[in-house]
Assembly symmetry: C2
Homo-oligomer: 202 residues x 2
């Protein structure tokens, strides 16, 4: 395919890569166009603004990540096995980023949440929805695990939220220390949050 | 005091306010000078660069927050009471920010960690040290609580780290949803992480 026909796709790819590597506020349309190899007019043909591109990048990222989360969390395996697989997949994403770019990129949604929440309402509202969807998926898993007797006395919504918060906190450490190994504690911590283990691992 | 004599202080204050409100990358020296009411030459008289100012802002913020954490976590009260007070103080900081600025500003260290870690080594290294110091303070508290029989079978370093991660994750939610009430779950979650409670609260 020629350059013109895949310009939109290349802008999306360049935007995704840049938004994962650097602060949203520091990235301009001109830089995105240079990275994508398209003229600026082409950008505005497809996207009315940088914010419109950001929303598409976020949606595309969630379609991919949400499908992965859904695939893992709605399987017929025991809930604890699904949780364990989710954490392994999360660590794998960061390990792959480290190998490919030299940096743990962290969570695109978390990065943007801490940067844009006070000033960019459409992006902020979309991020709120995505975190709610993550918590919904985990809540259903916790509920099924409780129903199957894997753990007891757990508030499913609270446990789900605390696990997502724990993921975000540990991914922050992984990014700050450029070390996906920081995520190894997720499993022990989540067992503790489900009342299954007295002590989280180091 | 005249304007000249407190210029350094006013630059620090303006930098702190701006770095807490918006992305580090989006804030230039000119904007900081305007907010501080000082000429640009005055900035470079005191700080060689924006990064140098950021390091001073981070240090000043940690001197203040570290003193608060120390005061709470090294008291002679039971370890669980100290933890509870730390969470109340954390929520109070965000509630105060919301009242003062209309926005939950989140954690200055967490905000910067997600933004600068891949590209700004001196800032990144300082943030790593500060998170290690936070974990150290909590580890000592957990160790004392375990020695006093408040909880048992806990790995103090792992528990301390998971509590800091939980704080960062819940502060992210507080900022994203502009709602300090998100932090209410910290207490129940930390009890669970210490093996004391089967279920985290919603």
């Amino acid at each position: 395919m020629g350059r013109k026909s895949d310009a939109r796709e290349r802008i999306l790819e360049a935007g995704t890569a840049l938004f994962q590597q650097r602060a949203y506020a520091s990235i301009g349309v001109a830089e995105i166009c240079t990275a994508a190899g398209v003229p600026k007019g082409s950008f505005y043909h497809f996207f009315p603004s940088k914010q419109a591109l950001a929303l598409e990048v976020i949606n595309a990222h969630w379609i991919k990540q949400g499908a992965q989360w859904s695939g893992i969390l709605t399987s017929s395996e025991p809930a604890l096995d699904r949780l364990r697989k989710l954490f392994l997949a999360t660590a794998e994403v960061q390990t792959t980023a480290l190998k490919g770019t030299g940096s743990v990129t962290g969570c695109l949604f978390g990065n943007l949440a801490l940067e844009v929440s006070a000033q960019d309402n459409p992006v902020r509202e979309r991020l709120q929805q995505i975190f709610e969807e993550q918590i919904d998926l985990l809540e259903a898993t916790v509920r099924e695990g409780a129903a199957a007797g894997e753990f007891a006395g757990v508030d499913p919504r609270g446990a789900a939220k605390s696990i997502v918060a724990q993921i975000e906190g540990m991914v922050l450490f992984a990014k700050l220390f450029n070390d996906p190994g920081q995520l190894d504690a997720l499993w022990q911590n989540s067992l503790a949050l489900l009342g299954l283990q007295p002590a989280p691992a180091a």
